[in-house]
Amino acid sequence: MRDRVWILAGLAVFVAALTFPAWYGLAHAKASSSPPNLVLPVNQKECVAPAGTMRATHMQLLIQWRQDVTRRGDRRFVAYNGKVYEKSLTRTCLGCHNKAGFCDRCHQYSGVSGPHCWNCHNDPQAVARSAP
């Protein structure tokens, strides 16, 4: 068994790689096991879709809005309750929701590594805070 050293080393590397999410997550625990304490919007009780639908499919909704606005110039959204909204992440969604208190908390809890949307799209409250 000349290769015992190499085999054991390779096995160790493999096990470490396989269990990476577990021990890395434990070491860098941003998420806790208790559900997030979400800051709900104060002035609106209804979203553009029912809460359950939004919880499950807001990602797909946003992608659909992105497609409609960017590629078709179609900015008008008629919600399930007949209300008309503008398809805008910054103005419509963040017009009611607080990004730090709502979006980020749930994303951190579920381990969603910050959606890339924020690289470009603005959080109006963050902009207002940092304005000179």
């Binding site: 960017t70 110039g73 103005r91 690289n119 470009c120 603005n122 902009v127 207002a128 304005a131 000179p132």
Partner: protein
């Protein structure tokens, strides 16, 4: 049913080919534009009026603030949607030995020409830039892979690439328009977000000399068309066949 391996592979190969053809046919035919375009946005820039006010950058400032354009110190990485250049640089093919000094000194504003047959949209491998039905050459910053083929293709140097994260270089962010991220190409978008609200582009409204006239080139009674009937206008490098939508009254 007994089928030999050779025949099975042959059948699968042809099926894959057929499926691929369907997609190819669809993508080629969907690129065809409708024959009649009721709107063709265009602009007439009165260079004479612009020249009369020296050292003015109202249009550049309005565009920068409206669109969160970063002011990057390193000139190699600068991002600009509208800016000014000397007359000789903008119209190299009209350069003669005897140009009036006022022409030679004057700066000319330049921006994306939103061409009729844009080379940039032709070469984009993902259709992240495309020509909308109303004539605007659009940018989709979600889809751009940052290959910079469009920059190579543009004969006018209208496009800029984000060589670094632009946010640190934006003095104050306008929350109403997204910033962009590093690694994507950007250019003047004819203020399509303002056009959607029935407003004129920011540069047009900001110019103190009212040098910009924006309107529907397809409508013979529009302001730009009237101007073009009254005065002789030039375009940048028309011999290239791009069909710019920006005209200059020199």
């Amino acid at each position: 049913m007994r089928i030999t391996r050779k025949d099975f592979l042959r059948l699968s190969g042809f099926s894959l080919l057929a499926a691929g053809c369907k997609q190819a046919v669809r993508s080629v035919t969907s690129a065809a534009r409708p024959a009649s375009k009721p709107i063709r946005w265009g602009m007439v820039i009165d260079v004479k009026k612009c020249r009369e006010k020296e050292a003015c950058d109202a249009c550049i400032h309005a565009c920068s603030t409206a669109h969160n354009i970063p002011q990057i110190a390193n000139r190699a990485h600068e991002v600009k949607w509208i800016w000014t250049e000397p007359y000789a640089a903008v119209f190299p093919s009209t350069q003669t030995s005897y140009v009036p000094p006022s022409f030679a000194k004057g700066m000319v504003p330049l921006l994306c020409n939103h061409c009729d047959d844009p080379p940039c949209t032709r070469v984009c491998p993902t259709q992240a830039t495309w020509k909308r039905d109303d004539g605007t050459v659009m940018m989709d910053w979600h889809r751009c892979i940052g290959c910079r083929y469009c920059i190579a293709a543009c004969p006018y140097g209208s496009r800029s690439f984000n060589w670094e994260d632009p946010r640190p270089a934006i003095a104050s962010i306008n929350p109403d328009f997204p910033t962009r991220t590093k690694g994507v190409v950007e250019k003047c978008n004819f203020c399509e977000e303002r056009l959607a609200q029935g407003l004129k582009p920011a540069c047009v409204e900001a110019c103190p000399q009212h040098a910009f006239t924006f309107g529907n080139l397809a409508d013979p009674d529009s302001e730009p068309r009237q101007l073009l009937r009254e005065r002789f206008a030039v375009q940048r490098q028309p011999e290239l066949g791009t069909g710019p939508s920006v005209y200059y009254l020199v």
